[in-house]
């Protein structure tokens, strides 16, 4: 019941077709990715086919498309910077999980668990390390949704072109 009223109120915003955020994102994403992939295709015949680096390039383009389509979010901007500035990635992420010693009580134990998981989550989100907890939680929501949409676009690309 409450949701219905919320629906009604939100309708004012959502009926404007340009502002449907999922559609906007998906469109932007596809519009970034497809030309980029075509461009790779164009340039590819000239260079030697090195599958690994090709994969890297495609991955890079996929990431860039995601970042460019999500400029409203901090993680999008962060991802863009990370991709544009070639930094040597550290594969061994030493997860410094602060475990308290044995004197922790029940409540504290729970807290530590939760903190551990929040740190994990921070690592997953691009730019998450530099945000505080509240910000990160909001960003995670939008990140998840954008990932889902990205999946849809990628799936359709693969399906269309694999036959």
């Amino acid at each position: 019941m409450e949701r219905k009223t919320i629906n009604k109120r939100k309708r004012v915003f959502s009926l404007q077709p340009n502002k449907n955020p999922k559609a906007v994102f998906a469109r932007r994403y596809a519009s970034h990715l497809v030309p980029a992939l075509n461009k790779i295709n164009m340039n590819k015949p000239t260079s030697k086919k090195d599958h690994k680096s090709f994969e890297q390039t495609v991955k890079h383009e996929v990431g860039m498309a995601l970042a460019l389509s999500a400029q409203e979010f901090a993680w999008g901007r962060f991802l863009q910077h990370k991709l544009l500035s070639p930094t040597h990635e550290d594969p061994s992420y030493s997860s410094k999980i602060l475990e308290r010693s044995d004197y922790k009580q029940e409540g504290e134990e729970e807290e530590a668990e939760i903190k551990k998981r929040l740190k994990e989550l921070q690592k997953l989100l691009p730019g998450g390390e530099e945000m505080n907890m509240d910000e990160m939680l909001s960003e995670i929501g939008s990140y998840i949704v954008c990932l889902e949409l990205q999946m849809i676009v990628l799936k359709s690309l693969v399906q269309d072109n694999s036959s």
């Binding site: 998906a26 469109r27 295709n41 599958h51 495609v58 909001s138 995670i140 929501g141 999946m151």
Partner: protein, 302 residues
Amino acid sequence: MDLYIPEKLKWLQQQQMVSPEFLQILGSGGREELKRVESYLGNTNDELQSFRHFPEFGPDYNVIDGCISRTSSFQMEPVKNDEVNRAISFQNKRKPEGKTEKREKKKIKTEAETETSMKGKSNMSNTETSSEIQKPDYIHVRARRGEATDRHSLAERARREKISKKMKCLQDIVPGCTKVTGKAGMLDEIINYVQSLQQQVEFLSMKLSVLNPELEFHINELSTKQAYFADLPEAVSKQSVMADLQSFPLHQQGSLDYSVINSSQTTSLGIKDQTSASWETHSQSLYNSLRTDSVSNFFSLK
């Protein structure tokens, strides 16, 4: 934000907890006060704002009276109450005050906070509360016995409330979260979900790179439409619509996208006319289809 201020005032009036003069004060300076409340609660970010205000929409406040039972599972109103109480405490700071008054306000603020820490979670085992009525112009709040009232734990509690609110929204987005209870379990689910999504993206991009050399890429108009219809409702059907809409700032400008599309067409090298034409028509069709159908999908949900 302007939408819910009159709503709140109405709610206050309904509860008859607040004297009319106070309402007047709040009404005139209400916006500014609530804005200050917002900044106090740390909401400078637009997205955070929309994210935060979402659960407080809706005129369905009828559960609130002065005596919210501990077993009430309606988690949202304590937060509303909190906000209003903060507004009140801020409002009170405006008046010229002596030290004693400050202390009193702090006490009231404390009691407001202590009430808001009431949640339906079973792991919070607290003793029975006693309802106290302060002065008639303050909000009728409930104090909890045996809870610390110093500044740090107040801040701590406020922080925890914000976090749990966001966790609720995340629960809507991530599938399969409703069965898990407790923060840790839910966070686990969320982590797993994000990891699996990222892995799937990697896998798909690998697939793409395999396909890429042979084929010229273009998005087929029809099948993408199908993909959108098939998958979007699935992604959306977990009642995540509103949460999603809220997590996106609503000031996006769709009209700018066309310029993006057009410029990318002109600048990318060697795109054949065929591809660009199909791309143009595709974007048009996507636009139309998304406008009509998936938006209606959004509204068919409860």
